[in-house]
Each structure stands twice: as C-alpha cells, then as structure tokens.
Amino acid sequence: MKNDSPFHRMPERCGLSRREFLWRSGGGLGGLALASLLGTDRALATDGLLTGKLQYPAKAKRMVQFFMAGAASHIDLFDYKPELVKRDGQPSDFGEHVEAFQNGLGPWLKPVWDFRPYGQSGKMLSEVVAPLGSVVDDMAFIHNVVGKSGVHSSATLLQATGFQLPGFPGAGCWVSYGLGSMNDNLPTFVVLPDHRGFASNGVKNWDSAFLPSQHSGTIIYPGTATPIADLFPNKAGNYITQEGESAAQRLMADLNREHAATREGDQRLEARIRSYELAAKMQLAAPEALDLKTEPEHILKLYGLDRGAQTWPKEINAEEENFYFSQKCLAARRLLERGVRFVQVWSGNDNGFPRRNWDSHEDVRRDHGPLARGMARGCAAFIQDLKQRGMLEDTIILWTTEFGRMPSSQGGKGRDHNPYVFTNWLCGGGIKGGTTHGESDQWGYKPLDRKHPTEVYDIHATLLRQLGIDHTKLTYRHNGIDRRLTDVHGHVIEELIA
C-alpha cells in the first residue's frame, strides 16, 4: 500500500547528505576506498544540511559563544548609567510597580567601578573590564536585550537554545547541523564548561535534543589529564597498553570488515568501523590541540598564562579566574584553528558556596570583580590573537548571559535579577565594530524604547546570517513541526552588519 501522506517522513532518508548517499550506493565500500572517491579533504569533513547551499555569502565560518552563568550585571560592566552615579544611595523609584525576583529594590547603587572612555569610538567601559578597551573598536554592544524570565534555568536555556523549556537543541547544535564539520579529528561543537561545575540545566544547554545526536556539544576540560571523557582508558584498565591498542584497532577493523562483507547494504556497519578510526585520530588530535605549553611565550603572556598554574587563595580572586578563563580562551583558539566549528565557553557555575558565578545577590564587588577581570583579560587576548592570525574576520563572537541585574541594590552591596534588560556584545565575523545598538533607559532597568527591544531570536538570526544562513530556512521536522533555532521569531539586525 502506497504511503502518500504528505507529512510522511522516512527517518532513514531525512537529511541524507551526498556522503551518506554514496555510502549506501557504494554497496558497503570501506572507508578508505570512499575517501579516495570523494577526494581527501572532502572525505575528512561531514556536510551539513546547507553545505554548498547557503542562502547568503558567508562572512563567518565559525563561532564562539562566551556565556556568563549567573547573570552578569550590565550596569557594572558595559552599560554606563551616569544617572545612577548621580543618585547613588537615594531610595530607588522606578515610576511603576516592579516585579522583583527577590527583594532587590533598595537604594540606587552606582556602578561599583568607574567607567572611562576607550578606543577611537570612545566607548564607556567599566575599569573592571579595562583589558577589553584595547579591542573595543572591534566590538558591537547591544544594551536592550530582553529575556522572558528571571529564573536561571529557563533564562539560561532561552539564551542557549532559543527556548525556555528543555528539549531543544543548543545554538551550536544548529550550526553543526546546518554547516557540518570542518574536520573529523575533533568534535564539531565543543563546550568548555567552568571547571567548578555546570550552569543551570547543565548539558541540556548544548544537547542536540531532536537533532541527530552527533550535533551535541562535546565537553572538553583543557589542562586535565583526560580532557574528553573516555579519551583514554579508565585507570581500571591498566592491562591496556599502547601496542595492544594498535593491535586491537587492526584486529577490530579486520573482523568488522569480514562481518560487514556478508551483510551488504547496512551502511551503519561501515560507519561504525569509521567511528573507531576517528576515535583513534581524536586520541592524537585532542591532546595536541590542547597542549598550550607549545604556544610561544608572547602568546602565553598575552593571555596571562605565562606563569602557569599557581596555588591560589580559597576566596575568589582575579588571578585564578584569569588563569582558568584564559586557558579556555587559548584552547578555544587552537580548537578553532584546527577546524572546530563552534566553541562555547562558560564562566561561572551553579549556586554553590562560596559563590563562583555572576549571580551577585550579596556583593557585586566580591564576585564580579575577579570574574570580570579574568573574563576581560581572556576575551581581549582572544580577540587580539584571532585578529593577528587573520581569523577575526571569519569568526563570529557572541558574549551573553541569562539576564541582567537591577540598578537598585539588594542588601546594600548586591544586585537582584533583572530580566527586563541586559547586554550582549558581538565581535568579528563581519559585525560592525565600535558600535552600540539599542539602549537601555537611564537606570539600566528596561529598554529605552520598550516597544523595540532586542531578543535572543534577533541575535541568533544575525549570527546565522553571518554564517550564510537564513534562520527561517534551517529547520528540522520534529513532531510535525518544522523546528528552528529562532522558533517563529527573529529578525536580522542589519545595523550591526558591516
């Protein structure tokens, strides 16, 4: 009986790339034979849905996302509010009822650090992020981003996946799905979490959800013995030796090929053989990529990594934050150089004590200080590093957080959640530098023009545009809906495009 439902979808056929098609009709060719058919450099990459079919000329080939977990205060970092300086200490009055998250409606609290102008654009930056002053003319700030919730878990998911509920793919997953990978020795989408723990909802922020699972973010911990989980045998496997491994690989390949020879037409068998070959490649490629010690001295100095790991005090401090954040930034640059498509760097973990995230309810100076100094040093070095290598023009960088913080104080020295407005910045990948798009009101409480805020959908639409993709055309049918990163929203912010 013919199945002629227009909605019918054969799972085995959806998204069949040219490479997959060749696997099938090749009747079970070994990986090497196929590689020579496709030509060596093509054989190393996996096509995405839109490879060779981009809607726009791509300005960027790769992306980095810096995510400040806990809600970084736009007021104390990037969004200068002279009105708050003037009215510091006075009882706050927003002129309307405020839906506060907790009780952060104390007196106005001026930015904890002073702001000064930087660069040719004269952008006002807090001195706690002074290192970014050296690259501010390459940065584009958006001060009128709004969220939907002041709750960390849903707000983090919204910025990471475009949806507030779990079950939707991370932005990096969509990019991997759309563009494919640039090599197979390393994962396409890499996640560098805060070494102290995950942000709210952890892996769900970069999970592939309903997209094919190879698009999930792969966690990497630079500077550790096993940077990727199971990259090397667990210590319980002390009977495993390097020679034995090579012999095992050869033996498995032979037996698997013999097995596949009498089971023609099942492409999975060949694909699995290949996956073991790639695993062996990854065992070499990943440690090489993460070997920061091979970097020249001036690069290590740029990132503040020249002194290496130290013993640091127990209290949160700028040197330690700089070390760990910069380590991730330098690792990110090396991974991008080696063909990783999307790297997501997290700063700050969930709510443990002592506080190690941006959720400064109690004391902005105490937590934001070290985190911001570390972040600014790392990001500035990263941007300069990319620029020197000619990689900034085709690498798009997004800095984001789940929401902002209130201009009124909480408990004297802290700030409560502010989902009503916060700041993102973009850099590279054809984004216009030295600009500010969208302002917040005089307090940094809500957008200045409340009818025209910027939403995460607009940011994502713009990022995809720079990658050559029309955000409405990168879709995946799931449960009867053509899903996309931007849901049914989003417009490209043309003013940000150079």
Binding site: F7, H8, S213, I240, A247, G480
Partner: protein, 258 residues
C-alpha cells in the same frame, strides 16, 4: 500496539509514533495494526501475551539478510520481507556486557542502584558519575533498576543514545560517533567488565585457545572461523585475555543483532 511493534522491529507500523492521523505517516500494514489492537482488547490486555505473540511469529523469526530483488522493491523494509538488524540500545548493551562477564545480578525489585556520587546535596547537587566505583556490585543489576537523574544524564548511557528523560522521545536516535567508540573502549564500566569476562572464561576452559573460543561463543552465539580463532588467540597471547574480551565487546557483531 504500534510502539510495542517498534520496540521489537526497530520501526513501527506507523513510523511517526507520536502522530497518528493527518499529521503522521500512514500505517504500512493497517489491517494488522487494527487486528493487533482489537485482539489485545479482546484477550484481556496483556502486554506479555502481545510480546509472546510478536516474538513467536514467523515475521519476527526471519533473518535480516538482505538481497537485491527485495531491495529493489522495498529497500527500507517497510513490508518486513526480512528482519531488521538491530543496534542494541544503551540498556541492552549494558545488560549484555554484564551477562558476558557473568556479573549480571538478576535480582528483581527493590530500590534502584546509583552509579554516581552526590556532592553538595544541600543545594544544587552535583551528580559525579566519574566518582562512582565500577566494582560496586549494586550497579551490576539490570539497567531497568538504574536511578535516572533527569537533570544530569549519565554520559556513558547518553553516548549510546539513551534518551533524555526530561524530553518526550518517541523514537531514540541511533548514532555512531567517535565519542561512542571511545565510551565503549575506555569507560570504567567497560574495562572493568572486560576483565571480569576474562576471569570468567579462564575458569571455563583450560588454555588460551579454549578460553578465546569460549568467550567468542558467549558473545556471538557461534564458533569463530578457524582463521579468526587463530588471530584472536594470537592477540590474546600477546596482550592478555582482558584485552581480547574488550575487543569482542567492541565488535559490530556484539552491538548489532542480526
């Protein structure tokens, strides 16, 4: 009916199990689906009986070997002219490995087992899977008794496409990736059970050649060819039986059921 059919054959009679009707696919065998449903209703609604009915059927007992004429007519096997070769799901891989090593504890019922250590239980607990002990016998029971942490999925199970329980998943992904290969090669559970597998067969055959044959038979249900047996025995002699067992557990023949 459709879901049970999907679990046994790898695809449902309706390939969109969450969408029947106009938004979904049409059934490949509508009369069969109707008959299964009414028979289920009329015979008292026993799933066990349904499972027995399906797995003792001639359709289920077919081999999965393909052929050119069949592929010409129905390459996706919608009409089930042969069986579908199944990739074992995460739970089945885990249980099968334990069955090989002889460590599978079939005790039924009771509290689930946990393969993690909880840190910071007072607020935002961390579920540290890396700190779990692969030699913890409580974790050698069937996967159905695994304590599932919805907020932080178990990485090894996830690498084998175990679905995230905080999502509605009508049909699991079936992935093949370098990360999955690494998980099966190097994870603490796998390397530990490979050693136990070796210890088991050492007690069941007098010499290496015999132990290799025994391990192979346990894993695949048939004797190895003479050539394969020779190569595997040579490997075992050079690298030890645990390594040999680890190889067997990583082969396609272990993961794909014909």
């Amino acid at each position: 009916m459709n879901r049970v059919w999907q679990y046994h054959f790898g695809r449902g009679l309706v390939t969109t199990p969450n969408d029947f009707g106009r938004n979904g696919a049409l059934p490949s065998h509508p009369e069969l689906l109707d008959w299964l449903a009414s028979d289920f209703r009329d015979s008292g609604g026993s799933l066990k009986q349904l499972h027995r009915l399906i797995v003792t059927s001639a359709t289920y007992k077919q081999v999965s070997t393909s052929n050119a004429p069949g592929e010409k007519i129905d390459v996706d096997n919608a009409l089930l002219w042969r069986q579908n070769r199944r990739k074992l799901e995460a739970e089945a891989v885990r249980d099968s490995v334990l069955a090989m090593s002889g460590k599978l504890d079939l005790t039924m019922g009771g509290p689930g087992w946990q393969d993690f250590v909880i840190e910071h239980p007072e607020h935002s607990p961390h579920y540290e899977y890396d700190l779990a002990d692969p030699e913890d016998r409580k974790t050698w029971r069937r996967s159905i008794y695994r304590f599932i942490v919805r907020s932080q999925t178990q990485p090894w199970m996830t690498s084998l496409d175990c679905a995230d329980p905080s999502m509605r998943v009508d049909r699991r992904n079936e992935s093949l990736s370098a990360l999955q290969a690494l998980a099966l090669l190097n994870d603490g559970f796998m390397v530990t059970q490979s050693r136990h597998f070796a210890e088991r067969v050492e007690g069941e055959a007098p010499d290496v050649a015999g132990q290799v044959e025994r391990a192979y038979r346990l894993a695949f249900g048939h004797a190895p060819s003479a050539a394969d047996h020779e190569h595997l025995t040579a490997f075992a002699q050079a690298n030890g039986l645990p390594n040999l067992c680890r190889v067997l557990l990583n082969l396609n023949e272990f993961i794909f059921v014909d």
